[in-house]
């Protein structure tokens, strides 16, 4: 393994953290969704790191599944976003707080 496993995991953690901060901080729904994609990628990286370390192809299979699911999720999510935009003319997350007290 070219680099120690810890470094791979560390990178994954950093990317995950960045993705979380983006999802929690930004107001633009599109950017929020992109941050979620980043989080998914971070997870993929971790999976592949372990797969390489322990010579287990299961990790890679799993990553394929994650990518597939991410694709599906993005499709549907953006569909919802478009509907939302058509109704409210805004993709600001603060404008969709209908469950507010």
């Amino acid at each position: 393994m070219p680099v120690p496993l810890e470094h791979v995991i560390g990178l994954s953690a950093v990317l995950f953290a960045i993705g979380t901060i983006g999802a929690l901080t930004r107001r633009n729904l599109v950017v929020i969704m992109m941050s979620i994609e980043l989080m998914l990628n971070a997870v993929n990286l971790a999976l592949l790191g372990f797969s390489r370390a322990w010579a287990d192809p299961t990790g890679q299979i799993f990553v394929l599944m994650v990518i597939t699911v991410a694709a599906a999720e993005v499709a549907v999510g953006l569909g919802i976003l478009i509907s939302l935009f058509r109704n409210r003319d805004s993709v600001n997350v603060e404008d969709v707080s209908l469950l507010k007290w």
Binding site: V3, P4, L11, V31, V76, N92
Partner: protein, 167 residues
């Protein structure tokens, strides 16, 4: 340090910078999307270093090539320019957030070494399409088929959601 290691760190740096660029870029949504592409591609490079060749290719084809493109389509369709929605947050809160995040990461990094099992040797052809393909169609054939259904449902859902009018 081997060439692979150097490459790893280079790509890692690229990924982090691109990710930060995506998250911190407030004014231009398209620029955010482009940063995401860069991050994806850098990650694909890392995947190759980690001997996950098929996955790396799929990453570029699907993730960078389709998913982010989809994001760009939507941004352009909705004509979203800037994220004029930034909420001014006090410096103190930003500082505090950074400190906390740094601390969590540092604790994590400190704890991790020594807690992982040993690295094993790799068999020949690991990560190539033959190996992955065999696994995919034997041990994991069920999840494989189920994801096809998932994609079908997603397609139908997306079409219905994005239609102009439901008749």
């Amino acid at each position: 340090m081997s060439a692979a290691a150097v490459l790893f760190y280079v790509f890692a740096a690229m990924t982090v910078v691109a990710a930060l660029g995506m998250v911190l870029n407030v004014r231009n949504t398209v620029a955010s999307a482009m940063s995401l592409v860069v991050a994806m591609i850098a990650l694909a490079g890392i995947y190759v270093i980690l001997e996950a060749h098929l996955v790396a290719v799929i990453q570029i084809l699907v993730y960078a090539g389709a998913i982010v493109v989809l994001f760009l389509f939507v941004v352009m369709l909705l004509n979203l320019r800037s994220d004029a929605f930034a909420v001014p947050r006090s410096r103190l809160v930003k500082l505090l957030g950074m400190v906390v995040t740094g601390w969590i990461l540092w604790v994590f990094v400190r704890l991790l070494p020594g807690s992982l099992p040993a690295v094993k040797a790799l068999p020949e052809g690991f990560g190539g399409f033959r190996d992955v393909g065999r696994e995919l169609f034997t041990s994991f054939v069920l999840p494989f088929e189920v994801t096809s259904f998932l994609l079908l449902a997603a397609i139908v859902g997306a079409v219905v959601l994005a239609k102009r009018r439901i008749d």
